[in-house]
């Protein structure tokens, strides 16, 4: 996607994002905040799925763990947002660094299975380690942090703009990375690892780095989430979240970076609407999954489809 052609669209989008919150109720502002957070989550997953070609079903681990860590830091150590964020990112990078070492030699469905297993084990740990994580009940009562500058993010509207700011900056950073030599190399790896190796690229190093980056950006979205939600539980690092993320990427178009944003918007919006009149959201999600894979495997924006 060329930036020049999309520039007017992006400007329109940003304008809308700036104006709409003043025109709608706080319920919708909250919804938009959620969409932004999960858009970042989906974008980070797109680095792995769409750009390197590694389908991860364990990405929720990089969302939930920093959420828990940030929550714990804010409750017990300091209410400073940046400190909580730093702690969350460190945690996510440590886990990413470790998991990365284990998964890097896998590909395709095998990679998917390993990431699934690793993330589920982490989920199980969170579930059982009740003394720290609160187990099934999670951690609640998390208050909005302080920024250290005279801007209070306690309100729905103010937190929305804070999230909008950070997500925009992060998305721009991801865009730069994707268009850089490093980003192009990732695409090459997705297309043919052997060719990249024979050209002289250290494919393993690239994959590992991409894994860490994806983890870090997901970590940011996790921390933003926990302060939005005021509550974190094992649902925020489980397989359902990973699956939703993957669906957002595929639905929007893997490898386009913008597609996942669209996918996130659609899925979050649908979930909120459908949950108001039926308990069968899981069933709907499953059906959407099957329909998308069968009929729109390249997503709305026509991303690539790996065999």
């Amino acid at each position: 996607m060329k930036l020049k052609g999309g520039l007017p669209l992006i400007l329109i989008l940003i304008t809308l994002l700036l104006i709409i919150p003043f025109l709608v109720s706080s319920y919708y502002v909250g919804l938009m905040t959620q969409i932004l957070i999960f858009a970042l989550f989906a974008e980070s997953l797109d680095i792995l799925v769409g750009h390197v070609g590694l389908p991860s079903l364990g990405h929720a681990a990089f969302f939930g763990v920093p959420a828990y860590v940030a929550a714990l830091v804010s409750l017990h150590l300091s209410n400073n947002f940046w400190l909580c964020l730093l702690a969350g990112l460190c945690a996510t990078c440590i886990i990413g660094a470790f998991f990365g070492l284990l998964v890097m030699r896998a590909r395709g469905a095998y990679f998917l299975m390993i990431t699934l297993a690793l993330a589920q084990l982490l989920w199980g740990l969170a579930f059982k380690w009740t003394s720290v994580t609160g187990g099934y009940d999670g951690i609640s009562g998390i208050s909005r942090p302080l920024l250290g500058i005279p801007w209070s993010i306690n309100g729905t509207l103010s937190y929305y703009f804070f999230v909008l700011l950070l997500v925009t900056v992060a998305s721009w950073a991801l865009w730069v990375i994707v268009k850089s030599p490093f980003g192009y190399a990732l695409k090459g790896i997705r297309e043919s690892e052997t060719r990249m190796l024979c050209l002289g690229y250290n494919v393993w190093a690239y994959k590992y780095m991409a894994f860490l980056l994806a983890a870090a950006f997901a970590g940011l979205s996790g921390v933003l989430f926990v302060f939005y939600n005021a509550f974190v539980c094992t649902d925020d690092m489980g397989i359902i979240l990973s699956a939703k993320g993957l669906l957002m990427v595929i639905l929007g178009g893997a490898g386009t970076l913008v597609g996942p944003i669209l996918g996130a918007g659609i899925i979050v919006f649908l979930e909120n609407i459908i949950c108001t009149f039926t308990e069968r959201w899981s069933l709907v999600l499953g059906i959407i999954y099957v329909v998308v894979i069968l009929f729109f495997p390249n997503g709305i924006l026509g991303g690539f489809q790996k065999r």
Binding site: S180, P181, G183, Y184, A185, L199, G200, Y201, V203, F304
Partner: protein, 246 residues
């Protein structure tokens, strides 16, 4: 200087020796061809040299360095480049992007995260010069999957050359090409600079004899003959393999 030295190379798959005690030496500037019927072990040999396979036993020396244990990308970094018998291109990317990835491969900027690739003018210029030389300028934004077979084979070679190699492995460069394209390819191969050493696998004997100054013939994983094109032409064993068994 000796570009490549293979010493008693063996590669076994289960019970079969695809490559059986092959020894070979290639000097700088050589145009060395490997001939042999299907299954002779030629592509396996290439995979061993480039590092895709590890040898069961034996030693590989590249530019006076023992690379037997080196991973693929490290050997490539020494100046080794190869093409594939079945085009191994970045099919989902455009022609321009394919060559760009090749051109960027030995540059320090390939790890850069913060600048747009399109802003590196010198890289873009190099890609444009390749496109011009091979007359593919009008296809630069075409997705490679949509190019013709001949164009894809050309891209295979461009990709290998764009990394400025010192040693080029060409795996059946004329595979599937028309007679006219084959003649063009042979002409092109003869015109490659002398400071690039070439090792090529060829099925088309005419092309091999035209391009190479030294020929090795393999059969069932072993070398059964090597020498100058004239010597090979007269070698009875070779004649029997190619013509006697029909």
């Amino acid at each position: 200087m000796t570009v490549l030295r293979l010493e008693n190379l063996v590669k076994s798959f289960g019970g079969i020796d695809a490559v059986n005690r092959v020894s070979l030496q290639i000097e700088a500037g050589d145009r060395h061809a490997i001939l042999g019927p299907n299954g002779a072990g030629k592509t396996t040999l290439f995979n061993l040299i480039s590092g895709i396979y590890t040898c069961t036993s034996g030693r590989i020396t590249l530019f006076d360095q023992d690379v037997s244990a080196y991973p693929v990308h490290r050997r490539a970094a020494l100046g080794l480049s190869r093409t594939f018998q079945i085009s191994n291109l970045f099919f989902g990317l455009t022609l321009f992007e394919n060559i760009l990835l090749s051109v960027q491969a030995r540059e320090a900027c390939k790890f850069s995260l913060h600048r747009r690739l399109t802003s590196y003018k010198y890289l873009n210029d190099r890609v444009e010069s390749y496109l011009k030389r091979w007359n593919l300028g009008n296809k630069r934004d075409d997705v490679v999957a949509n190019l013709s077979h001949g164009e894809q084979r050309q891209l295979e070679i461009i990709m290998a050359l764009a990394t400025n190699p010192r040693f080029l492995l060409l795996d059946e460069p004329t595979a599937g090409l028309s007679t006219a394209d084959t003649a063009m390819m042979a002409k092109f191969l003869k015109e490659i600079e002398r400071d690039i050493t070439i090792l090529l696998i060829e099925h088309d004997m005419a092309v091999a004899f035209e391009v190479a100054n030294y020929i090795t013939v393999m059969h069932y994983g072993r070398i059964i003959a090597d020498g100058s094109p004239e010597e090979i032409r007269k070698n009875s064993q070779v004649l029997e393999i190619y013509f006697g068994e029909d």
